[in-house]
Point group: C2
Chain length 645, copies 2
């Protein structure tokens, strides 16, 4: 919001609607739900979540971001979404920059960034939208596109004037309220609508009182809640809130918090928002204006004390943060307020997409566990998602994954860093084994660099995988190149900090799982060993050409993660599915080439080593079905190595 310098309606207003707010009506679906609702959040619209949190006395926060300028900036912003999403925001919002082609398909557009936040990061998202200088058709087009992409919330704004001075257009959208009305008339109750409030009054408004009246018009036209412009003193907001209530505005009003992060950004902001910085703040900031760290510390301090005062007033339940796309200050404020959820409850063991079509989704193949965005991308055209059972819903084919450069699938690390981690020059298959081993152990490689990501895994090792670290290290050293694994779990509480998920009071279970690339020599020995484990271990062994060896009965999926909860049906969120494994196989083998081999010159020995592995190794997955017993997969590995010796 800050970065748009958006402006509310000014001048005389046209005739208003009858004042009834369609936004306050609940559209809750009363029919029975066919999926066990693990997390009511997944099925509620934003305004309901807000109301429920308020009724429960919960406090929450939200985060505002602006779209990046470059594709690299987009990759960074998306991983910031993932990191800050882990703190548990109620929603994030993405601002709208008319100059940046905000409704386009560019990877930096507001539309695509918001799309990514909803669909790939699973975040409840508000897309800002301005209406000035645009035709009705343009606006409807943007809204239709947003709906198609699964966006459900719009922040309705006027936007900047085209020239220096504001010119009203006869039939155009002159005020945010016109956009609110347009959304309600064209899309009925589909979108939740947010509007902007100005605790000091809009700079262009005739008076504070006139501006309050305009706000009331926006709400009565159908807005569901209000987010305010930033302010510097808590009493500014509290007075504004009381004034709103006094004239009959009853919807939630969320204070916009701006932690001062630097002298320059403060000045720019003040210029854009036409706000005045109080003298007491100037007095602190001016003397330290060249000391960024000092200013940030002061900003955090100031924000924390203001937020505390707001929350203590009892009138404020949620806080909206203007992050300026930075993490440190906001995260610090949230942590000090106790609002940052270090370990937010996971509704499922994987991040649930926030797209309304995917609401019922509660089963996925385990293969994409470390590449959830790729899974979402490849299944985005599905009309139906597995709900309880894998079988039926897996019939639609997986989408192609040719576009390895797609910004949300691309590695976050630049080529130079990857070369340092994975080796400037490979000399043998063993040097590849070393890379895998370093990734597992966290030890630096022979050149002193830590391996923090792999082509199959963009993040450091999961806490859960850490439970298996020693055994994983041992097998990777010997050429069992592991890319995915989970320990067996026999009924741990659903609140377990490492393996828990779902509502409290439940119990979670897992079958041990191990997935790796390995040579045909090892596969030959492994297959002999597996005969001994025929009734206990299910396996799928496949090479890039599609040669496929398995003992899975009738191509049936094997549930490897499940949970039992009070008053609910069984949830089984991950399966080993033989059919989707063959799609995953293509992706997993391609990553050798696309992400690793292509770092090197064509015909270079390094590239040929990776190409050799791609062409000749097998991708293997193993499930130990006997989850109450000690995981036997390590014994299978031992036996295999013994047979080879």
């Amino acid at each position: 919001m800050v970065n748009e310098a958006q402006q509310s309606c000014s001048g005389s207003s046209s005739s208003r609607s009858d004042g009834s707010s369609s936004g306050s009506e609940s559209s809750k679906d009363n029919s029975r739900c066919s999926t066990p609702v693990l997390d009511a959040d997944r099925h509620e619209r934003l305004r309901e979540k807000m109301r429920r949190r308020q009724e429960a006395g919960d406090r929450w926060f939200s985060l505002e971001f602006f779209p990046p300028r470059t594709a690299n900036g987009a990759v960074n912003l998306i991983s910031r979404f993932d990191r800050m999403g882990a703190g548990g925001p109620l929603f994030i919002d993405v601002t709208w920059h008319p100059a940046g082609d905000p409704g386009s398909d560019k990877e930096t557009s507001s539309m695509i960034i918001a799309n990514t936040a909803v669909n790939y990061c699973g975040l409840e998202t508000i897309l800002h939208m301005t209406c000035s200088n645009q035709t009705k058709e343009d606006i409807t087009g943007h809204l239709q596109k947003a709906k198609r992409l699964g966006l459900k919330n719009i922040m309705a704004l006027r936007g900047d004037p085209a020239g220096e001075e504001w010119q009203e257009e006869a039939d155009g959208f002159n005020h945010a309220v016109d956009l609110v009305k347009h959304i309600r008339s064209e899309f009925d109750d589909y979108f939740d609508i947010c509007v902007a409030g100005y605790p000091k009054g809009h700079p262009e408004a005739e008076s504070y009182e006139t501006d309050l009246r305009h706000l009331k018009e926006k709400v009565f036209a159908g807005a569901d809640f209000i987010i305010t412009q930033l302010f510097f003193r808590p009493e500014t907001f509290l007075k504004f809130m009381k004034d709103c209530q006094a004239i009959g505005i009853t919807c939630p009003i969320i204070p916009g918090i701006f932690p001062i992060q630097g002298y320059h950004s403060l000045r720019q902001l003040v210029k854009l928002s036409k706000l005045e910085v109080p003298q007491e703040i100037k007095d602190v900031v001016e003397p330290i204006k060249d000391n960024d760290a000092a200013i940030r510390n002061y900003g955090v301090e100031l924000a924390v004390s203001m937020c505390r005062e707001l929350l203590d007033s009892g009138m404020v339940h949620g806080l909206h943060f203007y992050t300026l796309n930075r993490e440190v200050a906001t995260t610090e404020v949230l942590k000090r307020l106790g609002l940052w959820k270090e370990d937010p409850r996971r509704p499922l063991p994987w991040a649930v997409s926030a797209h309304p079509k995917r609401r019922v989704e509660d089963v996925r193949p385990i293969f994409w566990a470390s590449r959830p965005k790729s899974y979402i991308y490849r299944t985005q055209e599905w009309d139906d998602f597995p709900n309880g059972r894998w079988g039926n819903s897996s019939s639609p084919a997986f989408g192609e994954l040719k576009d390895y450069y797609l910004f949300y699938l691309k590695s976050k690390s630049p080529r130079e860093e990857l070369l340092k981690m994975w080796g400037e020059e490979l000399t043998s298959e063993e040097s590849v084994f070393e890379v895998f081993t370093c990734y597992i152990t966290g030890e630096p490689n022979r050149n002193g660099y830590k391996v923090t990501c792999m082509p199959w895994n963009d993040d450091p090792l999961a806490t859960e995988t850490n439970l298996l670290k020693d055994q994983l290290e041992k097998v990777n050293r010997r050429g069992i190149l592991t890319i995915n694994s989970q320990p067996n779990i026999n009924g741990k509480p659903s609140t377990d900090p490492i393996v828990g998920w779902g509502p409290s009071g439940g119990y979670v279970f897992q079958k041990a799982y191990l997935e790796f690339f390995t040579s045909s020599e090892i596969v030959t020995a492994l297959l002999k060993v597996l005969k001994k484990y025929e009734l206990r271990v299910n396996y799928h062994i496949v090479n890039v050409k599609g040669q496929n060896i398995t003992n899975a009965p009738d191509l049936q999926p094997n549930a490897v993660t499940w949970g039992i909860f009070p008053g609910r049906e069984i949830i089984q969120p991950t399966v080993v599915d033989p059919v989707s494994f063959l799609y995953w196989k293509d992706e997993a083998f391609a990553l050798w080439i696309e992400q690793w081999a292509k770092l090197y010159e064509e015909e270079s020995p390094s590239r040929m080593i990776i190409q050799y592995i791609h062409d000749n190794y097998y991708l293997v997955n193993l499930v130990d079905n006997d989850f109450p017993l000690e995981n036997c997969l390590w014994q299978v590995m031992e036996d295999t190595f013994e047979l080879l010796n």
Copy 2:
């Protein structure tokens, strides 16, 4: 077969088909299955089951029954199906009696008895059908009806001549082969077809060799397997089988075994089948002809030794028994042969219906656990059955259960017996408590009679319920009138003899469940106690008027039985479903009146006591969600009684 005196084709045959047997082609569906196949049997047709058992070297048996004359006879036959079904027959067959209106909807007709066997008893069933003296339309009508009812196997027979002498009809069905061809031409490969073979040659055939040729014609016209007429010496069958093979009959040939059960029945049979009893048998039987027990013992002995010889030959894999609707002799033979499966593996904790439409069914509400036939009856019109999740498939309404007299829902015990068990005269609610208590303990009631059934449970207490006997006794004495319960189970092997089900190598789980009627006074105390257990225990409490108290979240079903198996998705065969509980409630309350109150005169004190309970008591169900801990439901009961004191 014995009781139909069916006859194979005689006289010259018309032109034959090209000799290719459509019956030998597999129609296996190669598409992926959306339900975890726990028991391949459920998805195979009879001829495939037979082939698979033969390939696996398994030995099996089948049982033949004829339709009863009276409705009471039908009730008895159906419970015989249940008892003999427990021994694990590969199939049963029901003979066709043209004189008894065999295709009608009468509860004694062949069609309805076969329907009951398939749908209500879950038995793979062959319906016999004769073709003589019937129009093509009649026959097609019967076959269509059989198909509609879920029957998949037909034994194609000629049937008796209309008069004394056989008259060929020009365009009619003169031979069994005509019926085989008709079925294949009208119903393609839908039915598995069985035909009769005569080890001694058909009595009306020109010669043994001619009869063999006719048999070959029936097989080549599309029959899938052969069941033979009875015979008295094993060598008779073995020679017949070799002769069949010699002329190119390769389908399974199943010997028909007739354990001699009495002098009278043996003579009648011989007359009907025109067979000659060997002298060595006559020599034994004649001197003891008035001693039924002695003849039966001899018959069992003879059958066992003949069956052993057949099985030892290596040519015989399955044995077909002519039971004459009696249990003792056949069961004894099977037990001595080791073919009777004392504890056949249960594919699911409830008996799976054999109707093809219900193949995917793998979730049911727990309420009908003791009244599965009522559940099947009330859901017979459903197009779709819950597969994995209860939610979606429960939308069709439950059928009405007005017809309490329906023969397969009726009590097996006559009124006089019920009065002895449940009391000729009730004096108070406490005398009702006593009946429930005696049913649980197995002790005789005050008049010295054991209570072996209840309106809600037609059978003695299940082995599993026995685990809870002491606690159940205690609460029933105090007016908690239990009608359904299960203990909690935390991962017992699927092969556990009491609570196990599904394929071996798996683990089964249960949440503790308790369902009972009780007074409003107890309910009031119970509700206070349940506050302490709010997060742990889910409850539904309802009276006949529909007053409904529950803490189930969002009307969601609660899975109370589930199993984890190697290489499969999770199976959750029983749920507590809040919506179907309200249908069950009507049935459970109605049983007080229909089965109990109506035993007494109108206005009698006994009847008024039952009516009072019906009108004023509540039906309660409780689930303890914390299955790994000790069942807390008994503590809930204790606390309730304490509060009342």
